[in-house]
Symmetry: C2
Subunit: 181 residues, 2 copies
DNA sequence: ATAGCTGTACCGTCTGGACGGTATTGTCAA
DNA sequence: TTGACAATACCGTCCAGACGGTACAGCTAT
């Protein structure tokens, strides 16, 4: 199958993400990825015939996994009560604690070629529309989406600008704004 | 002096920023920068003795220029009426229209080594504090800072997720929230 | 027999950076 | 005034190493 879930393949993708974080997004080499994944270079190239394909797959699986988790959190929420918006906040809080951002692999893709981010572009647009539909108030949706997006990019770039308690009270205020509707 | 403004030096820095945008942040080579700046490679290395120093300088001058412009916009506003917050919005709107984000050079620095973003980290933290002090309401400051930060990162990564009119009405709503205080 | 690798050898290209040279301008002692 | 020297700002070349990718022979579990 095209998007086959495969043991070794997944290990390679994870190794690529971790290495992108450790060595800097632009210094990702196939040799290093293969070594970290515990696979030979030939083995790596068996799964991903070129570096571009590896980076493409990194972005795609990241988006897919994010969406899958988001929909799971959405299902945890009682339906009809702005489940999408709350799930979006839930997922941010959940992923915020990690040392290495799960999205670090996409920086490597960006470094190689910005157009590799096209799937992210499409997905984020779709996500914003879902939040808008969920909330009813398009401007509130924008505030919520953009604010979280800002926090996520701060994590992505490891800027660490906002302190934990600042983030906590921001999230609470955003939740209040949602309920208020 | 240490941070000397110099004709050729500035041309090199600008060339680096533009090339980072054109060729992808990770594909920035000294040869290409030199060629674009109309200088020989030797000449480039005279001004910046290593690639790291060039990227460092790119980040530093970006932060300096941003701060300079922000303070200029702040001075345009009547003092005492949340000048910092409004200037922050003004500057975003102003820079949003450009095709190439002025910050594109910092992606090249990030690609090489994430720690090159340390000056940005420090500056952004300081900026958030200034907005907090300016607004009085810390949570509102966070909403404003994070929302704009999200829009800026979307520009930086060329994600183009929000449409112009969405951005426009978001800005207006943020301005209303400021005045409301 | 085939899928899924391992391991090695290799090639062409690109790139950072070292290095030696050059032109111009300024300084300063004799 | 002039000659020696030095600092600045650059040019052009060269090289070692890294990297992406190819090729191919072999192993092994299913």
């Amino acid at each position: 199958m095209v998007t086959g879930r495969n043991e070794t393949r997944d290990r390679i993708l994870q190794a690529a993400s971790e290495l992108a974080w450790e060595t800097g997004p632009g210094n990702l080499s196939l040799d290093a990825v293969a070594a970290k994944a515990g696979v030979s270079k030939g083995g790596l190239l068996y799964h991903f015939p070129s570096k571009s394909r590896l980076l493409e797959a990194t972005v795609e699986t990241f988006v897919q996994e994010y969406d899958q988790t988001l929909k799971a959190r959405e299902a945890d929420r009682p339906p009809g009560s702005h489940a999408v918006a709350h799930a979006y906040l839930d997922l941010f809080v959940e992923q915020h604690v990690c040392k290495r951002p799960p999205s670090s692999g996409i920086l490597a893709a960006l470094a190689e070629d910005p157009s590799f981010l096209n799937p992210v572009r499409r997905y984020e647009r779709e996500l914003l529309d879902r939040i808008k539909a969920d909330l009813g108030d398009p401007e509130l949706a924008m505030i919520l989406y953009c604010a979280i997006s800002g926090l996520k990019s701060s994590d992505l770039l490891s800027l660490d600008v906002a302190k934990p308690d600042e983030i906590k009270s921001l999230i609470e205020r955003l939740r209040a704004l949602i309920s208020q509707r």
